[in-house]
Protein backbone atom coordinates (compact mmCIF):
# COMPACT_ATOMS: atom_id res chain seq x y z
CA UNK A 1 0.00 0.00 0.00
CA UNK A 2 2.74 2.41 1.01
CA UNK A 3 4.86 1.54 -1.99
CA UNK A 4 1.86 2.10 -4.21
CA UNK A 5 1.20 5.53 -2.71
CA UNK A 6 4.85 6.45 -3.03
CA UNK A 7 5.01 5.41 -6.67
CA UNK A 8 1.81 7.32 -7.43
CA UNK A 9 3.25 10.41 -5.78
CA UNK A 10 6.49 9.87 -7.65
CA UNK A 11 4.65 9.61 -10.94
CA UNK A 12 2.78 12.78 -10.14
CA UNK A 13 5.94 14.66 -9.26
CA UNK A 14 7.73 13.56 -12.41
CA UNK A 15 4.63 14.48 -14.38
CA UNK A 16 4.68 17.97 -12.93
CA UNK A 17 8.41 18.26 -13.59
CA UNK A 18 7.94 17.18 -17.18
CA UNK A 19 5.16 19.70 -17.65
CA UNK A 20 7.22 22.50 -16.11
CA UNK A 21 10.06 21.58 -18.47
CA UNK A 22 7.75 21.75 -21.48
CA UNK A 23 6.49 25.14 -20.37
CA UNK A 24 10.04 26.51 -20.03
CA UNK A 25 11.10 25.20 -23.43
CA UNK A 26 7.96 26.65 -25.04
CA UNK A 27 8.54 30.08 -23.56
CA UNK A 28 12.26 30.04 -24.42
CA UNK A 29 11.49 29.09 -28.02
CA UNK A 30 8.89 31.83 -28.23
CA UNK A 31 11.35 34.41 -26.94
CA UNK A 32 14.16 33.28 -29.25
CA UNK A 33 11.88 33.45 -32.26
CA UNK A 34 10.60 36.93 -31.46
CA UNK A 35 14.11 38.10 -30.68
CA UNK A 36 15.46 36.90 -34.00
CA UNK A 37 12.55 38.35 -35.94
CA UNK A 38 13.11 41.67 -34.18
CA UNK A 39 16.78 41.72 -35.13
CA UNK A 40 16.26 40.59 -38.72
CA UNK A 41 13.51 43.09 -39.46
CA UNK A 42 14.68 46.21 -41.27
CA UNK A 43 14.03 48.35 -38.24
CA UNK A 44 16.60 50.58 -36.63
CA UNK A 45 16.08 50.54 -32.87
CA UNK A 46 18.85 53.09 -32.42
CA UNK A 47 17.16 55.56 -34.74
CA UNK A 48 14.00 55.18 -32.73
CA UNK A 49 15.91 56.29 -29.62
CA UNK A 50 18.10 59.10 -30.93
CA UNK A 51 15.79 60.47 -33.60
CA UNK A 52 16.62 61.25 -37.22
CA UNK A 53 18.61 64.40 -36.45
CA UNK A 54 21.27 62.89 -34.17
CA UNK A 55 24.94 62.98 -35.24
CA UNK A 56 26.89 59.82 -35.87
CA UNK A 57 28.89 59.83 -32.59
CA UNK A 58 25.69 59.90 -30.53
CA UNK A 59 24.32 57.16 -32.80
CA UNK A 60 27.40 54.95 -32.25
CA UNK A 61 27.31 55.57 -28.53
CA UNK A 62 23.69 54.45 -28.25
CA UNK A 63 24.39 51.55 -30.64
CA UNK A 64 27.03 50.22 -28.25
CA UNK A 65 25.00 51.04 -25.14
CA UNK A 66 22.21 48.88 -26.49
CA UNK A 67 24.68 46.06 -27.03
CA UNK A 68 23.98 45.89 -30.74
CA UNK A 69 27.68 45.48 -31.61
CA UNK A 70 27.78 42.08 -29.90
CA UNK A 71 26.84 38.79 -31.66
CA UNK A 72 23.10 38.08 -31.70
CA UNK A 73 23.32 35.11 -29.30
CA UNK A 74 25.23 37.19 -26.78
CA UNK A 75 22.54 39.82 -27.07
CA UNK A 76 19.88 37.19 -26.49
CA UNK A 77 21.81 35.85 -23.51
CA UNK A 78 22.09 39.30 -22.00
CA UNK A 79 18.37 39.83 -22.54
CA UNK A 80 17.52 36.53 -20.86
CA UNK A 81 19.77 37.43 -17.95
CA UNK A 82 17.91 40.72 -17.54
CA UNK A 83 14.59 38.90 -17.71
CA UNK A 84 15.62 36.53 -14.93
CA UNK A 85 16.31 39.60 -12.78
CA UNK A 86 12.82 40.91 -13.53
CA UNK A 87 14.14 43.55 -15.89
CA UNK A 88 12.25 43.71 -19.18
CA UNK A 89 14.09 46.89 -20.21
CA UNK A 90 12.59 50.29 -20.74
CA UNK A 91 9.93 51.08 -23.29
CA UNK A 92 10.88 53.74 -25.81
CA UNK A 93 7.35 55.08 -26.07
CA UNK A 94 6.86 55.88 -22.41
CA UNK A 95 10.35 55.71 -21.00
CA UNK A 96 9.02 53.54 -18.17
CA UNK A 97 10.10 49.96 -17.50
CA UNK A 98 8.14 47.63 -19.81
CA UNK A 99 6.84 45.64 -16.87
CA UNK A 100 5.26 48.77 -15.35
CA UNK A 101 3.67 49.64 -18.66
CA UNK A 102 2.21 46.19 -19.07
CA UNK A 103 0.90 46.26 -15.53
CA UNK A 104 -0.80 49.56 -16.30
CA UNK A 105 -2.45 48.62 -19.62
CA UNK A 106 -3.22 45.00 -18.90
CA UNK A 107 -6.30 45.33 -16.66
CA UNK A 108 -8.14 47.25 -19.40
CA UNK A 109 -7.68 44.34 -21.78
CA UNK A 110 -8.45 41.71 -19.16
CA UNK A 111 -11.70 43.49 -18.37
CA UNK A 112 -12.66 43.70 -22.04
CA UNK A 113 -11.67 40.14 -22.90
CA UNK A 114 -13.32 38.67 -19.81
CA UNK A 115 -16.61 40.34 -20.58
CA UNK A 116 -16.23 39.23 -24.21
CA UNK A 117 -15.65 35.60 -23.24
CA UNK A 118 -18.65 35.78 -20.91
CA UNK A 119 -20.75 36.86 -23.88
CA UNK A 120 -19.17 34.08 -25.90
CA UNK A 121 -20.13 31.48 -23.31
CA UNK A 122 -23.56 32.81 -22.42
CA UNK A 123 -24.62 33.13 -26.06
CA UNK A 124 -22.45 30.58 -27.84
CA UNK A 125 -22.97 27.64 -25.54
CA UNK A 126 -26.79 27.47 -25.54
CA UNK A 127 -26.71 28.25 -29.24
CA UNK A 128 -24.48 25.24 -29.90
CA UNK A 129 -26.56 22.95 -27.68
CA UNK A 130 -29.75 24.15 -29.37
CA UNK A 131 -28.22 23.59 -32.81
CA UNK A 132 -27.16 20.05 -31.93
CA UNK A 133 -30.44 19.01 -30.38
CA UNK A 134 -32.36 20.42 -33.37
CA UNK A 135 -29.98 19.10 -35.99
CA UNK A 136 -31.18 19.92 -39.49
CA UNK A 137 -34.11 21.93 -38.20
CA UNK A 138 -34.78 25.62 -37.60
CA UNK A 139 -32.60 26.06 -34.51
CA UNK A 140 -29.64 24.55 -36.33
CA UNK A 141 -30.04 26.88 -39.32
CA UNK A 142 -30.36 29.99 -37.15
CA UNK A 143 -27.23 28.99 -35.24
CA UNK A 144 -25.39 28.38 -38.51
CA UNK A 145 -26.20 31.86 -39.82
CA UNK A 146 -25.10 33.52 -36.58
CA UNK A 147 -21.91 31.46 -36.58
CA UNK A 148 -21.12 32.33 -40.18
CA UNK A 149 -21.70 35.99 -39.44
CA UNK A 150 -19.45 35.83 -36.37
CA UNK A 151 -16.65 34.09 -38.22
CA UNK A 152 -16.64 36.07 -41.39
CA UNK A 153 -17.36 39.67 -40.46
CA UNK A 154 -14.18 41.74 -39.99
CA UNK A 155 -14.04 42.93 -36.42
CA UNK A 156 -12.89 46.49 -37.26
CA UNK A 157 -15.80 46.97 -39.67
CA UNK A 158 -18.23 45.78 -37.01
CA UNK A 159 -16.55 48.11 -34.55
CA UNK A 160 -16.99 51.12 -36.77
CA UNK A 161 -20.56 50.20 -37.68
CA UNK A 162 -21.32 49.61 -34.02
CA UNK A 163 -19.97 53.04 -33.11
CA UNK A 164 -21.93 54.62 -35.94
CA UNK A 165 -25.24 53.01 -35.02
CA UNK A 166 -25.17 52.66 -31.25
CA UNK A 167 -23.03 55.67 -30.38
CA UNK A 168 -23.51 58.28 -33.10
CA UNK A 169 -27.13 57.54 -34.02
CA UNK A 170 -28.80 55.96 -31.05
CA UNK A 171 -26.53 57.24 -28.31
CA UNK A 172 -26.82 54.00 -26.34
CA UNK A 173 -23.14 53.14 -26.20
CA UNK A 174 -20.47 55.17 -24.46
CA UNK A 175 -18.17 55.62 -27.44
CA UNK A 176 -14.40 55.68 -27.36
CA UNK A 177 -12.35 55.02 -24.24
CA UNK A 178 -13.11 53.09 -21.06
CA UNK A 179 -15.23 55.70 -19.27
CA UNK A 180 -16.66 59.19 -19.79
CA UNK A 181 -14.04 61.91 -19.40
CA UNK A 182 -15.88 63.32 -16.39
CA UNK A 183 -15.06 60.17 -14.41
CA UNK A 184 -11.59 59.64 -15.83
CA UNK A 185 -9.16 59.26 -12.96
CA UNK A 186 -11.93 59.65 -10.39
CA UNK A 187 -12.24 55.94 -9.65
CA UNK A 188 -9.68 54.81 -7.06
CA UNK A 189 -7.33 52.26 -8.60
CA UNK A 190 -7.56 48.96 -6.75
CA UNK A 191 -7.64 46.17 -9.32
CA UNK A 192 -7.36 48.28 -12.46
CA UNK A 193 -10.67 46.81 -13.62
CA UNK A 194 -12.94 49.86 -13.81
CA UNK A 195 -16.18 47.91 -13.33
CA UNK A 196 -14.83 46.27 -10.19
CA UNK A 197 -13.14 49.38 -8.83
CA UNK A 198 -16.17 51.63 -9.28
CA UNK A 199 -18.40 49.01 -7.71
CA UNK A 200 -15.98 48.67 -4.78
CA UNK A 201 -15.98 52.41 -4.33
CA UNK A 202 -19.78 52.42 -4.50
CA UNK A 203 -19.62 54.96 -7.30
CA UNK A 204 -22.54 53.67 -9.32
CA UNK A 205 -22.57 56.58 -11.79
CA UNK A 206 -19.00 55.77 -12.77
CA UNK A 207 -19.95 52.10 -12.92
CA UNK A 208 -22.79 52.85 -15.30
CA UNK A 209 -20.54 54.95 -17.45
CA UNK A 210 -17.87 52.24 -17.59
CA UNK A 211 -20.53 49.68 -18.42
CA UNK A 212 -21.89 51.82 -21.24
CA UNK A 213 -18.40 52.03 -22.66
CA UNK A 214 -17.43 48.39 -22.37
CA UNK A 215 -20.56 46.57 -23.55
CA UNK A 216 -20.31 47.40 -27.25
CA UNK A 217 -16.62 46.56 -27.79
CA UNK A 218 -16.96 43.45 -25.60
CA UNK A 219 -19.96 42.24 -27.59
CA UNK A 220 -18.18 42.77 -30.88
CA UNK A 221 -14.96 41.21 -29.61
CA UNK A 222 -16.98 38.31 -28.20
CA UNK A 223 -18.79 37.63 -31.46
CA UNK A 224 -15.93 35.55 -32.75
CA UNK A 225 -15.97 33.48 -29.56
CA UNK A 226 -19.73 33.07 -29.89
CA UNK A 227 -19.12 31.56 -33.31
CA UNK A 228 -16.22 29.39 -32.19
CA UNK A 229 -17.81 28.17 -28.97
CA UNK A 230 -21.20 27.44 -30.53
CA UNK A 231 -19.61 25.55 -33.42
CA UNK A 232 -17.50 23.40 -31.13
CA UNK A 233 -20.37 22.87 -28.69
CA UNK A 234 -22.56 21.72 -31.55
CA UNK A 235 -20.10 19.13 -32.80
CA UNK A 236 -19.27 17.88 -29.28
CA UNK A 237 -22.97 17.57 -28.49
CA UNK A 238 -23.75 15.74 -31.73
CA UNK A 239 -21.08 13.21 -30.88
CA UNK A 240 -22.53 12.64 -27.41
CA UNK A 241 -26.17 12.56 -28.52
CA UNK A 242 -25.47 9.55 -30.72
CA UNK A 243 -24.09 7.54 -27.77
CA UNK A 244 -25.90 4.59 -26.25
CA UNK A 245 -26.24 6.15 -22.80
CA UNK A 246 -28.52 8.77 -24.36
CA UNK A 247 -30.92 5.98 -25.28
CA UNK A 248 -30.66 4.69 -21.71
CA UNK A 249 -31.56 8.14 -20.40
CA UNK A 250 -34.56 8.30 -22.73
CA UNK A 251 -35.64 4.79 -21.73
CA UNK A 252 -35.87 6.05 -18.16
CA UNK A 253 -38.57 8.45 -19.32
CA UNK A 254 -36.54 11.63 -18.94
CA UNK A 255 -37.60 14.74 -20.83
CA UNK A 256 -35.62 16.03 -23.77
CA UNK A 257 -34.17 18.82 -21.68
CA UNK A 258 -33.04 16.41 -18.96
CA UNK A 259 -31.41 14.16 -21.54
CA UNK A 260 -29.63 17.02 -23.30
CA UNK A 261 -28.44 19.01 -20.29
CA UNK A 262 -28.30 16.36 -17.58
CA UNK A 263 -26.58 13.68 -19.65
CA UNK A 264 -25.03 14.80 -22.95
CA UNK A 265 -23.92 18.22 -21.76
CA UNK A 266 -22.17 16.88 -18.67
CA UNK A 267 -20.00 14.80 -20.96
CA UNK A 268 -18.72 17.69 -23.06
CA UNK A 269 -17.64 19.92 -20.16
CA UNK A 270 -14.05 18.75 -20.36
CA UNK A 271 -13.73 19.46 -24.06
CA UNK A 272 -15.53 22.78 -23.67
CA UNK A 273 -13.06 23.83 -21.02
CA UNK A 274 -10.20 23.64 -23.49
CA UNK A 275 -12.21 25.48 -26.12
CA UNK A 276 -13.09 28.30 -23.73
CA UNK A 277 -9.50 28.57 -22.51
CA UNK A 278 -8.21 28.80 -26.08
CA UNK A 279 -10.91 31.30 -27.02
CA UNK A 280 -10.04 33.44 -24.02
CA UNK A 281 -6.38 33.40 -24.93
CA UNK A 282 -7.06 34.45 -28.49
CA UNK A 283 -9.38 37.21 -27.25
CA UNK A 284 -6.55 38.72 -25.23
CA UNK A 285 -4.38 39.01 -28.29
CA UNK A 286 -7.29 39.62 -30.66
CA UNK A 287 -8.16 42.73 -28.71
CA UNK A 288 -5.62 44.63 -30.85
CA UNK A 289 -8.10 45.65 -33.54
CA UNK A 290 -11.05 46.42 -31.33
CA UNK A 291 -8.84 48.46 -28.98
CA UNK A 292 -7.68 50.56 -31.89
CA UNK A 293 -11.22 51.22 -33.10
CA UNK A 294 -12.54 52.04 -29.64
CA UNK A 295 -9.43 53.88 -28.42
CA UNK A 296 -9.29 51.37 -25.60
CA UNK A 297 -6.11 52.02 -23.60
CA UNK A 298 -5.21 48.36 -23.30
CA UNK A 299 -2.57 45.80 -24.05
CA UNK A 300 -3.41 45.51 -27.74
CA UNK A 301 -3.01 49.20 -28.33
CA UNK A 302 0.24 49.25 -26.40
CA UNK A 303 1.57 46.34 -28.44
CA UNK A 304 0.56 47.96 -31.75
CA UNK A 305 2.17 51.29 -31.00
CA UNK A 306 5.34 49.57 -29.75
CA UNK A 307 5.49 47.55 -32.96
CA UNK A 308 5.06 50.68 -35.07
CA UNK A 309 7.94 52.25 -33.21
CA UNK A 310 10.16 49.19 -33.49
CA UNK A 311 10.41 49.04 -29.72
CA UNK A 312 11.63 45.48 -29.28
CA UNK A 313 11.81 45.60 -25.48
CA UNK A 314 8.12 46.35 -25.25
CA UNK A 315 7.17 43.91 -28.02
CA UNK A 316 9.11 41.05 -26.48
CA UNK A 317 7.70 41.81 -23.07
CA UNK A 318 4.21 41.65 -24.55
CA UNK A 319 4.96 38.43 -26.44
CA UNK A 320 6.24 36.84 -23.26
CA UNK A 321 3.11 37.87 -21.37
CA UNK A 322 0.82 36.49 -24.10
CA UNK A 323 2.82 33.28 -24.13
CA UNK A 324 2.60 33.01 -20.36
CA UNK A 325 -1.16 33.52 -20.47
CA UNK A 326 -1.62 30.80 -23.05
CA UNK A 327 0.50 28.38 -21.09
CA UNK A 328 -1.27 29.27 -17.85
CA UNK A 329 -4.72 28.83 -19.42
CA UNK A 330 -3.67 25.43 -20.74
CA UNK A 331 -2.36 24.35 -17.36
CA UNK A 332 -5.53 25.51 -15.63
CA UNK A 333 -7.81 23.71 -18.08
CA UNK A 334 -5.70 20.56 -17.70
CA UNK A 335 -5.96 20.79 -13.94
CA UNK A 336 -9.74 21.21 -14.16
CA UNK A 337 -10.06 18.06 -16.31
CA UNK A 338 -10.01 15.93 -13.21
CA UNK A 339 -12.89 17.90 -11.71
CA UNK A 340 -15.22 17.16 -14.61
CA UNK A 341 -14.09 13.74 -15.77
CA UNK A 342 -13.94 10.97 -13.18
CA UNK A 343 -11.99 8.79 -15.62
CA UNK A 344 -8.93 11.05 -15.37
CA UNK A 345 -8.80 10.89 -11.58
Amino acid sequence: MFVLTASVLGARASNTARRAGTVLVTLLGLLALTFIIGRVMPLDPVLAVVGPDADSSTYDQVYRAMGLDKPIWTQFGLYLNDLLHGNFGNALLTGHPVLDDIRRVFPATIELATLAILFGIVIGLPLGVCAASNQGRMGDHVARVITLFGYSTPIFWLGMMGLLVFYAWLGWAGGAGRIDLAYDGMVPDVTGLLLVDSALAGDWEAFASALRHIVLPALILGLNSVAYISRMTRSFMLEQLSQEYIITARVKGLSRRQVVWGHAFRNILVQLLTVVALAYGSLLEGAVLIETVFAWPGFGQYLTSSLMLGDMNAVMGCVLVIGLIFVALNLISDALYTVFDPRTR
Binding site: Q243, E244, Y245, I247, T248, A249, R250, V251, K252, G253, L254, S255, R256, Q258, G262, H263, R266, N267, L269, F340, D341, P342, R343
Partner: protein, 279 residues
Amino acid sequence: MSAIKLNVEGLNVRFVNGQKETHAVRDVSFTLGREKLAIVGESGSGKSTVGRSLLKLHPPSARISAKAMAFGEIDLLSASEKAMQKIRGQRISMIMQDPKYSLNPVVKVGDQIAEAYLAHHKASRSDARERVMQMLEQVHIRDPKRVYNLYPHEVSGGMGQRIMIAMMVITRPEVIIADEPTSALDVSVRQQVLSVLEELVEQQQMGLIFVSHDLNLVRNYCDRVLVMYAGRVVESLAACDLQYAEHPYTRGLLAALPSMDNRRVHLPVLKRDPLWLTH
Protein backbone atom coordinates in the same frame (compact mmCIF):
# COMPACT_ATOMS: atom_id res chain seq x y z
CA MET B 1 -49.70 -16.84 -19.86
CA SER B 2 -52.33 -14.45 -18.68
CA ALA B 3 -53.53 -10.94 -19.44
CA ILE B 4 -52.18 -9.54 -22.67
CA LYS B 5 -49.79 -6.68 -21.98
CA LEU B 6 -48.64 -5.87 -25.46
CA ASN B 7 -50.44 -6.39 -28.73
CA VAL B 8 -48.58 -5.68 -31.94
CA GLU B 9 -50.20 -6.23 -35.31
CA GLY B 10 -48.63 -5.61 -38.69
CA LEU B 11 -45.76 -3.48 -37.46
CA ASN B 12 -43.69 -1.92 -40.24
CA VAL B 13 -40.58 0.20 -39.79
CA ARG B 14 -38.95 1.99 -42.69
CA PHE B 15 -35.78 4.03 -42.56
CA VAL B 16 -35.91 6.88 -45.02
CA ASN B 17 -32.65 8.43 -46.10
CA GLY B 18 -33.23 10.84 -48.93
CA GLN B 19 -34.49 8.75 -51.82
CA LYS B 20 -33.31 5.52 -50.28
CA GLU B 21 -35.77 3.57 -48.19
CA THR B 22 -34.87 0.59 -46.04
CA HIS B 23 -37.75 -1.57 -44.98
CA ALA B 24 -36.31 -2.90 -41.72
CA VAL B 25 -39.38 -4.45 -40.09
CA ARG B 26 -42.16 -5.98 -42.19
CA ASP B 27 -45.59 -6.93 -40.91
CA VAL B 28 -44.49 -8.13 -37.52
CA SER B 29 -47.29 -9.26 -35.22
CA PHE B 30 -47.13 -10.72 -31.73
CA THR B 31 -48.64 -10.46 -28.30
CA LEU B 32 -46.94 -10.45 -24.96
CA GLY B 33 -48.47 -11.59 -21.70
CA ARG B 34 -46.86 -12.36 -18.37
CA GLU B 35 -44.18 -14.43 -20.04
CA LYS B 36 -40.69 -14.44 -21.44
CA LEU B 37 -40.82 -13.94 -25.16
CA ALA B 38 -37.64 -14.30 -27.16
CA ILE B 39 -36.97 -12.61 -30.47
CA VAL B 40 -34.11 -14.32 -32.24
CA GLY B 41 -32.52 -13.69 -35.59
CA GLU B 42 -29.27 -12.71 -37.14
CA SER B 43 -27.75 -9.23 -37.09
CA GLY B 44 -29.83 -6.83 -39.13
CA SER B 45 -32.97 -8.94 -39.00
CA GLY B 46 -34.81 -6.13 -37.28
CA LYS B 47 -35.16 -7.61 -33.81
CA SER B 48 -33.64 -4.64 -31.96
CA THR B 49 -35.64 -2.24 -34.12
CA VAL B 50 -38.85 -3.93 -32.96
CA GLY B 51 -37.81 -3.40 -29.34
CA ARG B 52 -36.95 0.24 -29.85
CA SER B 53 -40.08 0.96 -31.86
CA LEU B 54 -42.24 -0.21 -28.96
CA LEU B 55 -40.76 2.59 -26.87
CA LYS B 56 -40.70 4.93 -29.86
CA LEU B 57 -36.97 5.39 -29.45
CA HIS B 58 -36.35 5.10 -33.15
CA PRO B 59 -34.26 7.78 -34.90
CA PRO B 60 -36.15 10.59 -36.69
CA SER B 61 -35.40 8.94 -40.04
CA ALA B 62 -37.60 5.95 -39.16
CA ARG B 63 -41.25 5.72 -40.19
CA ILE B 64 -43.41 3.43 -38.09
CA SER B 65 -46.78 2.12 -39.10
CA ALA B 66 -48.91 -0.70 -37.72
CA LYS B 67 -52.45 -1.96 -37.63
CA ALA B 68 -52.15 -1.98 -33.88
CA MET B 69 -49.45 -1.32 -31.35
CA ALA B 70 -51.19 -1.31 -28.00
CA PHE B 71 -49.91 -1.46 -24.46
CA GLY B 72 -52.92 -2.42 -22.38
CA GLU B 73 -55.46 0.24 -23.21
CA ILE B 74 -52.89 2.67 -24.54
CA ASP B 75 -52.31 3.04 -28.25
CA LEU B 76 -48.55 3.46 -28.47
CA LEU B 77 -48.71 4.41 -32.13
CA SER B 78 -50.62 7.61 -31.51
CA ALA B 79 -49.13 8.40 -28.10
CA SER B 80 -47.44 11.79 -27.88
CA GLU B 81 -43.82 12.20 -26.80
CA LYS B 82 -45.09 13.45 -23.43
CA ALA B 83 -47.27 10.39 -22.99
CA MET B 84 -44.35 8.17 -24.01
CA GLN B 85 -42.16 9.78 -21.35
CA LYS B 86 -44.67 8.63 -18.74
CA ILE B 87 -44.63 5.09 -20.13
CA ARG B 88 -40.89 4.78 -20.66
CA GLY B 89 -39.08 3.63 -17.57
CA GLN B 90 -42.19 3.49 -15.44
CA ARG B 91 -44.27 0.94 -17.33
CA ILE B 92 -42.07 -0.37 -20.13
CA SER B 93 -38.32 -0.25 -19.77
CA MET B 94 -35.39 -1.57 -21.68
CA ILE B 95 -32.10 -3.20 -20.75
CA MET B 96 -29.39 -2.25 -23.17
CA GLN B 97 -26.64 -4.41 -24.54
CA ASP B 98 -23.31 -3.22 -23.22
CA PRO B 99 -22.98 -1.39 -19.88
CA LYS B 100 -19.66 0.00 -21.10
CA TYR B 101 -21.59 2.27 -23.46
CA SER B 102 -25.07 2.39 -22.02
CA LEU B 103 -24.16 4.00 -18.69
CA ASN B 104 -23.29 7.68 -18.57
CA PRO B 105 -19.52 7.75 -17.95
CA VAL B 106 -19.43 10.89 -15.81
CA VAL B 107 -22.32 10.16 -13.42
CA LYS B 108 -22.11 7.91 -10.35
CA VAL B 109 -23.97 4.66 -10.99
CA GLY B 110 -26.08 5.11 -7.88
CA ASP B 111 -27.24 8.52 -9.04
CA GLN B 112 -28.11 7.05 -12.43
CA ILE B 113 -30.35 4.49 -10.79
CA ALA B 114 -31.88 7.10 -8.50
CA GLU B 115 -32.64 9.25 -11.51
CA ALA B 116 -34.76 6.48 -13.04
CA TYR B 117 -36.75 6.32 -9.81
CA LEU B 118 -37.08 10.09 -9.40
CA ALA B 119 -38.26 10.49 -12.98
CA HIS B 120 -41.54 8.84 -11.98
CA HIS B 121 -41.83 9.20 -8.22
CA LYS B 122 -42.10 12.25 -6.05
CA ALA B 123 -39.51 11.38 -3.46
CA SER B 124 -36.71 13.07 -1.59
CA ARG B 125 -33.12 12.43 -2.55
CA SER B 126 -32.53 10.38 0.57
CA ASP B 127 -35.64 8.25 -0.03
CA ALA B 128 -34.48 7.59 -3.56
CA ARG B 129 -31.06 6.70 -2.24
CA GLU B 130 -32.64 4.25 0.17
CA ARG B 131 -34.60 2.64 -2.69
CA VAL B 132 -31.45 2.37 -4.78
CA MET B 133 -29.64 0.58 -1.94
CA GLN B 134 -32.49 -1.95 -1.69
CA MET B 135 -32.49 -2.41 -5.43
CA LEU B 136 -28.74 -2.96 -5.56
CA GLU B 137 -29.15 -5.67 -2.95
CA GLN B 138 -31.91 -7.27 -5.00
CA VAL B 139 -29.57 -7.61 -7.96
CA HIS B 140 -27.09 -9.31 -5.60
CA ILE B 141 -24.58 -6.53 -5.27
CA ARG B 142 -22.77 -6.79 -2.00
CA ASP B 143 -21.70 -3.56 -0.37
CA PRO B 144 -24.21 -1.30 -2.17
CA LYS B 145 -23.00 1.73 -0.21
CA ARG B 146 -19.63 1.50 -1.91
CA VAL B 147 -21.02 0.63 -5.32
CA TYR B 148 -23.43 3.58 -5.24
CA ASN B 149 -20.53 6.01 -5.47
CA LEU B 150 -18.62 4.23 -8.23
CA TYR B 151 -18.40 5.51 -11.79
CA PRO B 152 -19.22 3.21 -14.71
CA HIS B 153 -15.56 2.73 -15.64
CA GLU B 154 -14.92 1.39 -12.14
CA VAL B 155 -17.34 -1.54 -12.34
CA SER B 156 -16.97 -4.83 -14.21
CA GLY B 157 -19.22 -5.82 -17.11
CA GLY B 158 -21.30 -8.22 -15.03
CA MET B 159 -21.79 -5.69 -12.27
CA GLY B 160 -22.52 -3.00 -14.83
CA GLN B 161 -25.27 -5.09 -16.31
CA ARG B 162 -26.76 -5.80 -12.89
CA ILE B 163 -26.71 -2.04 -12.28
CA MET B 164 -28.48 -1.61 -15.59
CA ILE B 165 -31.12 -4.12 -14.49
CA ALA B 166 -31.52 -2.35 -11.14
CA MET B 167 -32.00 0.93 -13.01
CA MET B 168 -34.70 -0.50 -15.26
CA VAL B 169 -36.55 -2.50 -12.62
CA ILE B 170 -36.58 0.05 -9.79
CA THR B 171 -39.84 1.55 -11.06
CA ARG B 172 -41.52 -1.90 -11.18
CA PRO B 173 -42.42 -1.74 -14.87
CA GLU B 174 -44.91 -4.16 -16.41
CA VAL B 175 -42.82 -4.96 -19.45
CA ILE B 176 -39.07 -5.16 -19.89
CA ILE B 177 -37.35 -5.30 -23.23
CA ALA B 178 -33.90 -6.81 -22.89
CA ASP B 179 -31.84 -6.06 -25.97
CA GLU B 180 -29.13 -8.71 -26.05
CA PRO B 181 -28.44 -8.15 -22.36
CA THR B 182 -25.67 -10.71 -22.13
CA SER B 183 -23.95 -10.47 -25.51
CA ALA B 184 -21.22 -8.22 -24.17
CA LEU B 185 -20.54 -10.37 -21.11
CA ASP B 186 -18.22 -13.23 -20.37
CA VAL B 187 -19.87 -16.63 -20.36
CA SER B 188 -18.98 -16.97 -16.68
CA VAL B 189 -21.03 -13.95 -15.57
CA ARG B 190 -23.78 -14.43 -18.14
CA GLN B 191 -25.67 -16.97 -16.03
CA GLN B 192 -25.46 -14.79 -12.96
CA VAL B 193 -26.98 -11.80 -14.76
CA LEU B 194 -29.69 -13.93 -16.35
CA SER B 195 -30.75 -15.45 -13.06
CA VAL B 196 -30.95 -12.00 -11.44
CA LEU B 197 -33.18 -10.88 -14.28
CA GLU B 198 -35.32 -14.00 -14.11
CA GLU B 199 -35.78 -13.63 -10.36
CA LEU B 200 -37.05 -10.06 -10.73
CA VAL B 201 -39.28 -10.84 -13.69
CA GLU B 202 -41.01 -13.64 -11.76
CA GLN B 203 -41.19 -11.71 -8.51
CA GLN B 204 -42.79 -8.66 -10.09
CA GLN B 205 -44.75 -10.61 -12.71
CA MET B 206 -43.35 -8.65 -15.59
CA GLY B 207 -43.52 -9.48 -19.25
CA LEU B 208 -40.09 -9.87 -20.80
CA ILE B 209 -39.07 -9.45 -24.42
CA PHE B 210 -35.68 -11.03 -24.76
CA VAL B 211 -33.84 -10.06 -27.91
CA SER B 212 -31.01 -12.45 -28.60
CA HIS B 213 -29.20 -14.50 -31.19
CA ASP B 214 -28.30 -17.28 -28.84
CA LEU B 215 -30.66 -20.15 -29.67
CA ASN B 216 -29.48 -22.44 -26.90
CA LEU B 217 -29.88 -19.73 -24.30
CA VAL B 218 -33.34 -18.79 -25.50
CA ARG B 219 -34.50 -22.39 -25.58
CA ASN B 220 -33.89 -22.79 -21.86
CA TYR B 221 -34.59 -19.29 -20.67
CA CYS B 222 -37.75 -18.20 -22.46
CA ASP B 223 -41.32 -19.39 -22.87
CA ARG B 224 -41.91 -18.49 -26.47
CA VAL B 225 -39.70 -17.71 -29.44
CA LEU B 226 -40.20 -15.47 -32.46
CA VAL B 227 -37.73 -16.14 -35.24
CA MET B 228 -37.03 -13.15 -37.43
CA TYR B 229 -35.45 -13.08 -40.82
CA ALA B 230 -34.96 -9.98 -42.97
CA GLY B 231 -37.50 -7.97 -41.01
CA ARG B 232 -40.21 -10.63 -40.90
CA VAL B 233 -41.30 -13.10 -38.28
CA VAL B 234 -40.81 -16.39 -40.08
CA GLU B 235 -41.81 -18.62 -37.20
CA SER B 236 -43.36 -18.34 -33.76
CA LEU B 237 -43.36 -21.26 -31.37
CA ALA B 238 -42.99 -22.37 -27.77
CA ALA B 239 -39.38 -22.46 -26.65
CA CYS B 240 -39.58 -26.10 -25.69
CA ASP B 241 -40.74 -26.94 -29.22
CA LEU B 242 -37.81 -25.24 -30.86
CA GLN B 243 -36.35 -28.54 -32.01
CA TYR B 244 -39.55 -29.23 -33.91
CA ALA B 245 -39.34 -25.97 -35.84
CA GLU B 246 -40.69 -26.23 -39.36
CA HIS B 247 -39.43 -23.21 -41.17
CA PRO B 248 -36.28 -24.05 -43.17
CA TYR B 249 -34.55 -20.94 -41.84
CA THR B 250 -35.02 -21.98 -38.21
CA ARG B 251 -34.08 -25.54 -39.10
CA GLY B 252 -30.97 -24.22 -40.81
CA LEU B 253 -29.99 -22.19 -37.77
CA LEU B 254 -30.48 -25.15 -35.47
CA ALA B 255 -28.49 -27.39 -37.75
CA ALA B 256 -25.62 -24.93 -37.68
CA LEU B 257 -25.29 -25.12 -33.88
CA PRO B 258 -22.20 -26.97 -32.75
CA SER B 259 -22.89 -29.80 -30.34
CA MET B 260 -20.73 -31.75 -27.92
CA ASP B 261 -22.45 -35.06 -28.64
CA ASN B 262 -22.56 -34.76 -32.36
CA ARG B 263 -19.15 -33.54 -33.48
CA ARG B 264 -18.81 -32.57 -37.11
CA VAL B 265 -15.77 -31.51 -39.09
CA HIS B 266 -17.77 -28.94 -41.01
CA LEU B 267 -20.84 -27.22 -39.70
CA PRO B 268 -23.51 -26.93 -42.39
CA VAL B 269 -23.91 -23.52 -43.97
CA LEU B 270 -27.36 -21.96 -44.03
CA LYS B 271 -28.83 -21.99 -47.53
CA ARG B 272 -31.03 -18.97 -47.98
CA ASP B 273 -34.10 -19.18 -50.12
CA PRO B 274 -35.14 -15.92 -51.81
CA LEU B 275 -38.73 -16.99 -51.24
CA TRP B 276 -38.30 -16.30 -47.48
CA LEU B 277 -38.14 -12.63 -48.32
CA THR B 278 -41.67 -12.59 -49.69
CA HIS B 279 -43.52 -15.29 -47.74
